[in-house]
Amino acid sequence: MELFGLTIGLLLLFVSFGFMVGVLFGFFGMGGAFLITPTLLILGYPARVAIGSGLAFYFGTSVIAVIKHYDIGQVDYKLGAILFVGLTIGIEGGRRLVFSLERIGIAELVTGVAYVFLLAGIGLLFLRRARNIAADESDEDETNGDDIPPMATTLQSYNIPPMVSLTAGGSASAWTISGVGGTVGLVSGFLGVGGGFIRMPAIYYLIGTPLAVAVGTSLFAGLFSGAYGTFTYGAAGGIDLAVITPLLVGSALGARIGSAATTVVNEDDVIIYFAAMMLLASAAIALSELGNWLEIEPLNTLSVILLVGSAFFVGSMIIYHVIKSMRKTGGELQQNPSH
């Protein structure tokens, strides 16, 4: 039996996987498209559909994030607009690159390999954070959110016109801003990710806005770049609504639970699992690529189980901690002292 062109099993998989991705990324404050796109690749969707649908999923989740923080925190609209221009050009470049690779028949291979490194990189970063926590290296007081990082101060000292004055003070070269936007957009358009995990640090470290403005501006620019990514891949036949809808149905619910969990679950308790999940996801994609190369189908099945299973495990850990905390407090969500 099929519904919307998907088997019931696949439909349930998308809803439940979307739910777990929502829990995870609602908790860790990310979009989650960088788990959706590789999963679609492993499931055998063509690269452009996996990437386009990943971007569309990101667009849906960022709409929800913006409604939730409807004032979008502190936004530098001029900076956001210039960033958006760069992001648009970058996304378009990324899409063209994917379609060029598709024409020579290596789009799935190249994006798959890129994901192996991307997810391993993120996993290692989180692993380092977990080890620092374990070693009791408190990062408190290391950074004041209003401080301008030294790297940004150096970059701002190069006056390459035209200079753009920033709302929070100081100025940055339009070339730096559009360069940041273009690079993030290229990654976004090529891999089908929102790119928030590089966009926000790039705004903070390279352009040099205070942290709160970097978060708000990143969300603002991300929303429009997600819309553009959906549009450009949609026009090229790279969007599958039958995939995105069940993922969003699950994710919107999961994100509610995930963001509520931040008040009761200590991030330090689950960060090590998240790091392990990212490393497993990277290994899963490597296995899938190997399976395709050696034409061993069970390796593909194993990679799906590994990727989806690890997301389910970490998502379940968060839900378990929430339930445990609620039982302890008699149903009240007790504020986590670390938040």
């Binding site: 026009a235 969003l248 619910l253």
Partner: protein
Amino acid sequence: MAGYTPLDRNNEFTTMAYLWGICTMIELSTLPATVQALLFVGVILFEAVFLYVGYGAIEKVAGPRIKRAITRGE
């Protein structure tokens, strides 16, 4: 995924009174590519808002019951 065509599937999807009826009666494949793409953006925007509002309402109604069910299982 041999012979995979997302647009065919999207078309099938929409003719099945697509979710809340937003795209009912629209034959996607007959529309120009840019219009289709704009429609995708609109549909996802609508879905996201609908889901946010819908789950918010469900949470208001069913939230206390779920809380009670969780704590009762102690």
